[in-house]
């Protein structure tokens, strides 16, 4: 983090969860994008997704920038109960034609580099066409599928699933939440509202 701060700065920044700095979204496409993000939050009440589209001139590593951004950004339009550790950042560099996904600690048991790459691949045809709305929708849809699968696994054996992400079920360990991993919800574990 220190290295990333050295490259991009150590000050926090404020952003909305959907930021089209590159200006590639038409006005009419922005609302559907926001709606998609809201639907995600409704489906996963502890999580959120942030989308940032930038046109970077000289970005050495999009992954590094995503890592820095997730940790340094204060999302002004995200429910404060959903900390960045429950967030998924989709970062798109329209100049370099690259996209990356970065996710918080809470999602480490459910997502990985491979699965997030799968999610990005789902939007690949649309990225190629420059249809960013469709591309991001496809990516988010795939992320939802992955998270539902992870939720099912966690429902069966939460301890094992959390251990994959280097975490423990709250209450089963004496360790403290040193890194500020959010206590996701007061609801019963694995509960499904319908």
């Amino acid at each position: 983090m220190v290295h990333a701060d050295g490259v991009f700065g150590s000050q926090d920044i404020k952003l909305k969860k959907f930021s089209d700095v590159a200006g590639v979204f038409r006005m009419k496409d922005r609302e559907p994008m926001r709606k998609t993000l809201e639907n995600f939050e409704a489906k996963f009440p502890q999580l959120f997704i942030s989308v940032y589209l930038g046109a970077f001139e000289d970005l050495s590593s999009i992954r590094q920038y995503g890592f820095w951004m997730l940790n340094r950004t204060h999302y002004v339009d995200v429910d404060p109960q959903r900390s960045n550790s429950t967030g998924i950042l989709i970062l798109v560099d329209v100049n370099a034609k690259s996209a990356s996904i970065t996710f918080g600690y809470a999602l480490m048991p459910y997502l990985s580099e491979e699965t997030t790459f799968e999610a990005l691949s789902a939007g690949h045809p649309f990225f190629l066409q420059g249809d960013y709305l469709k591309a991001l929708k496809a990516v988010i849809k795939k992320l939802e599928v992955l998270l539902v699968k992870g939720w099912k696994r966690a429902r069966k054996d939460p301890v094992k699933v959390l251990a994959r992400g280097g975490q423990t079920l709250k209450g089963s360990s004496s360790e403290h939440n040193e890194a500020g991993i959010s206590e996701l919800s007061s609801e019963k574990e694995g509960e499904v509202k319908g």
Binding site: S61, F67, N71, N84, F117, E118, E189
Partner: protein
Amino acid sequence: MRRVFIFVFAGMTLSVCAQALREDSLLEKDGSDGLPEWNDQELEALEAGDYVPGSSLMGKLAREILDSETQEVIVLDPAIQELPEEEPKSLEWSKAIGEEYLSAYFRGGIDGYLVDPQELLATQEFRDREIFLNRHAKDFIIDCYFYLFDGLQEIPEEESLEVLVKSHFEKDNPVAVVFYFMGNPRRSQLVFSNRVVDVVRLEEREKVLRLAIEDALEKSDPASQLDIFSIKLSMGLVKLEEIVTKEGGSLLGGEKFVMDGKSRQLPDRTNLWDKLTSNEWFSNTLVGLSLLGPTCLLGIWVRRSRNKGKTYVFPVAEGSGLLDAPHGAGVGGVLFFVSATASPSSQTQDVPDYLQKI
């Protein structure tokens, strides 16, 4: 490769040797090649034009005309020219069955399964059909008798197929008797003996004749039509036997069954669907599937509509941070979409060194 070369070389060597031996054998000991030679007398006659090679094969008349050196036209003998042309048989004549044949058809004893006193079939054709009907009679329960008539011939009013069956065939024998009109299978008549009549539904019996006629009509040659007709009829009778075996039957009088005008149009050919639906297992399966399909669709719809409003809450976890990052160090995938031809997997980016340790 070497082996192939050796084989080719050996073959060529043998071929050359064989050629040399053959040339040697063709030469006579006296050095001649064994072919006939002109003698001096024939050679002179040939050169003078008195001898025509092959003339012995040409016949006397042709030889004389050739020798006469005149351009005489060969004309037919007046006796042959004046032969009266054969007049076509009148329609009236072709409809009538000769008196001499009536007894063979309707009053004679049963002599074989194929009755053709007018010799409408060639000998070989007759034998083939007779063998077929004999085999059918040997292998199956319902014997099949064929009475052959010409296509336009009319059965005398005082005679009928029903009467023939009653008078010539035993009631207890399961028998199918056919009046078949050569080249005109649509006119075919079929009568079953009493044993068969009521144990099999009329439509089933009709179907036997109908299918036989339909298949026969696909052929244009009368003999081929008869072949197909008899084969199809035989198959139909086998099917009826299955029904008889299944259901049993009562003895009733034979009834003549002739295709009526409408049926001759043959509109409702039994297709694969009819065959399949008559199969009990298939019908049950079809009913099951017809119920299962909508049920599955309904289930999927219910599941989707339930999932639509479903929310997923993850277990509350705790753990230690990584890389001094306050919120996350989830190293996700990176995708490049520069090239439309390269696959997404070939456009990934390696993890930077500083993140490898995560």
